[in-house]
């Protein structure tokens, strides 16, 4: 019985996940010739040329910066939400989630107008006699866009872990003489690591591969790895090179997930996965 119900999913996954993955691998490891295609590593050796490595380096750097900022902003926010200070927790949670229901492109476009030289933010700053903010079309704007768009993915998993911590454990730590700092470092933080790991992964991966944010807020001046892949498929039509970059990205992400799961230790990953 179980097998029969599983069957459609297996077909679905084979058709739309396994076959496409194999196709990507095929394109990555072949180059077209007049007679068809031959196996080759050309696409990969091209990727390891300096200009493309620089693109990769920039993508990694911006993704790491955005992830760290999300973590620094998101962890305290999750703690506040999970704490008892607010009686209307669900309202705050809703406020975090509702913007995510709006179209992602629309939200990024909004920043384009907000950050303009004569945009809303600068008009407000002028009114308060504060210096203007001119970060549109810079790396800062790209990081801002990533943090803004991906912050909920950091907050929600951490919040969900924190709110499940047994209050008795915290009380016990206090009864045994730990001050609130020690309670945090010895009890709350270790227990929240699985949520933190999910959060970091869920911010880092899209930040590494985004191409819309860097194109709109970076004014196309900061080619990231996502832009490079998009360009290969849509403009140049070099599927082989595009696929090989994608394969490199998959390997990188697998690698970073392996590191993550090392930190995660025995605990099982929770939350939105």
């Amino acid at each position: 019985m179980k097998r029969a119900t599983l069957f459609p999913y297996v077909i679905w996954m084979a058709l739309f996940i396994v076959v496409p993955m194999l196709l990507v691998l095929y394109y990555a490891f072949t180059v077209p010739t007049d007679a068809g295609a031959t196996w080759s590593l050309d696409n990969f050796s091209r990727f390891f040329e300096p200009i493309y490595l620089r693109v990769l380096g920039r993508s990694l750097r911006l993704a790491v910066i955005s992830t760290i900022i999300c973590l620094l902003l998101g962890y305290p926010a999750a703690m506040v939400m999970a704490g008892n200070a607010f009686s209307r927790k669900s309202v705050i949670l809703l406020l975090f989630v509702v913007p995510m229901w709006m179209n992602f492109l629309l939200r990024t476009y909004a920043w384009l107008t907000l950050l303009e030289r004569n945009g809303v933010i600068n008009v407000l700053l002028n009114a308060l006699r504060l210096p203007n903010l001119n970060i549109l079309y810079t790396e800062s704007a790209v990081v801002l866009g990533m943090v803004y768009n991906f912050l909920p993915f950091m907050v929600l998993p951490i919040y969900s872990v924190l709110s499940k911590i047994d209050k008795g454990v915290i009380e016990a730590a206090g009864d045994l003489g730990a001050n609130s700092f020690r309670v945090f470092t010895r009890v709350i933080f270790p227990l929240s690591v699985p949520g933190l790991v999910s959060g970091v992964t869920m911010v880092f991966m899209p930040a590494l591969t985004t191409f819309v944010i860097s194109r709109l807020l970076g004014g196309g001046q900061f080619t990231l790895i996502g832009n490079l892949i998009e360009q290969q498929f849509l403009v140049v039509g070099d599927w082989g090179f595009g696929s090989s970059i994608s394969v490199v990205m998959i390997v990188l992400i697998l690698f970073s997930m392996a590191i993550m799961s090392f930190f995660e230790g025995e605990e099982k990953s929770v939350a939105l996965w």
Partner: protein, 350 residues
């Protein structure tokens, strides 16, 4: 026993599905359907309803945002479009790959209204596969309150005076094309050295560039965020209609004339309908409404004659013969596109 029941249900489900799809197919046969695939916002959509009424056909209308999106969809099969609107270089690519049906000009009598200068081009010398739909040039859109000189040369995009006030197109062929024209080379060059020179020029320019944009560029010009922008004439006309301080100029060194065509993908089911539709779009009064709605220039001479005088004689929208002679069409580059991509990636990663 349980299994038997399940199987019965499955058979029933399949039967229902088959019956459903048959009934759908049945509907389709009553009224011929024409599938049209066009750029977004590239037609006055009221026209579709009028066509349906006059010819008793149902029109299914879908849109795309780049030539490449359209190409991938047609190439991968499974779509059933009868009329598409590729740009000239994409036309070449599709012809090379034998992806288009021949058209029968006898069934499109209104093609006689079309501008000779845009007929019989290198892409389709006898117009066996395509007819021009809308066209324009590549040039410089500028804000007259921020730029007080007359724009006559591409050099202005390299002028240090306008540091961080210049918008370039995030489009390899157009931005590299501007650099190639400035250097006096062909916009279709396959010469790697010439391309490298153009790349160097664009790298020098990068500190002056505010951003590389596509669709959002016109809004930035309208709001006064930048002073100068490399752009297409149709986009420029739209921006000028939103902000009177803006003006468009075609530099003297030359420009790129581009046009989009109407064509029929191979295997189209409703050829007769496609011909009727193409003829309908070439009726002067219909072409007039389209050019007024979209803002791009029409190749339909009779329609142009009906435009208000200041538009029809506007050398920005309808460049002189001299400008057109000085201009170059984009040609599909084939494998050389990789060199362009490399130069562009170097510029952007610089």
């Amino acid at each position: 026993m349980v299994k038997m029941v399940r199987k019965g249900k499955l058979v029933l489900l399949v039967l229902v599905l088959v019956a459903f799809s048959l009934s759908l197919a049945g509907c389709g046969q009553e009224k011929p359907t024409l599938y049209v695939y066009n750029w977004g916002d590239y037609i006055d959509e009221d026209i579709l309803g009028e066509f349906e009424k006059e010819f008793g056909m149902k029109v299914v209308y879908d849109t795309y945002s780049t030539n490449e999106d359209m190409y991938v969809k047609i190439k991968s099969g499974g779509s059933n479009y009868d009329v598409i609107f590729p740009s000239e270089y994409m036309l070449t690519r599709m012809l090379q790959e034998d992806m288009l049906e021949k058209i029968d000009l006898n069934k499109i009598p209104n093609h006689k209204h079309l501008d000779e200068r845009l007929m019989g081009t290198v892409y389709d010398p006898k117009n066996e596969y395509s007819l021009p739909y809308l066209w324009g040039t590549l040039g410089i859109l500028y804000n007259t309150t921020l730029v007080d000189e007359e724009i006559t040369s591409w050099d202005v995009l390299w002028d240090d005076k306008y540091r961080k006030q210049i918008l370039m197109l995030d489009s390899q062929r157009d931005s590299i094309g501007a650099a190639l024209i400035k250097l006096g080379y062909s916009v279709n060059t396959h010469d790697v050295d010439q391309l490298a020179e153009a790349g160097e020029l664009l790298k020098q320019q990068k500190p002056l560039v505010l951003a590389y944009v596509v669709d959002e560029g016109k809004d930035k010009m309208v709001s006064g965020e930048a002073s100068l922008a490399l752009t297409w004439s149709g986009e420029a006309m739209y921006a000028i209609s939103e902000n009177e301080d803006l003006a468009y100029a075609i530099p003297e060194e030359g420009t790129n004339v581009w046009f989009d065509v109407m064509a029929i993908p191979k295997g189209a089911k409703n050829l007769e309908g496609a011909f009727k539709f193409m003829d309908f779009l070439n009726r002067p009064e219909i072409a007039l409404r389209n050019t007024e709605y979209v803002g791009y220039s029409t190749p339909n001479v009779a329609a142009r004659a009906m435009l208000p005088e200041e538009v029809r004689n506007d050398t920005q929208a309808y460049p002189s013969d001299e400008d057109i002679e000085n201009a170059e069409f984009f040609v599909h580059l084939g494998d050389a596109l990789r060199h362009y991509d490399r130069v562009w990636t170097e510029v952007k990663a610089h």
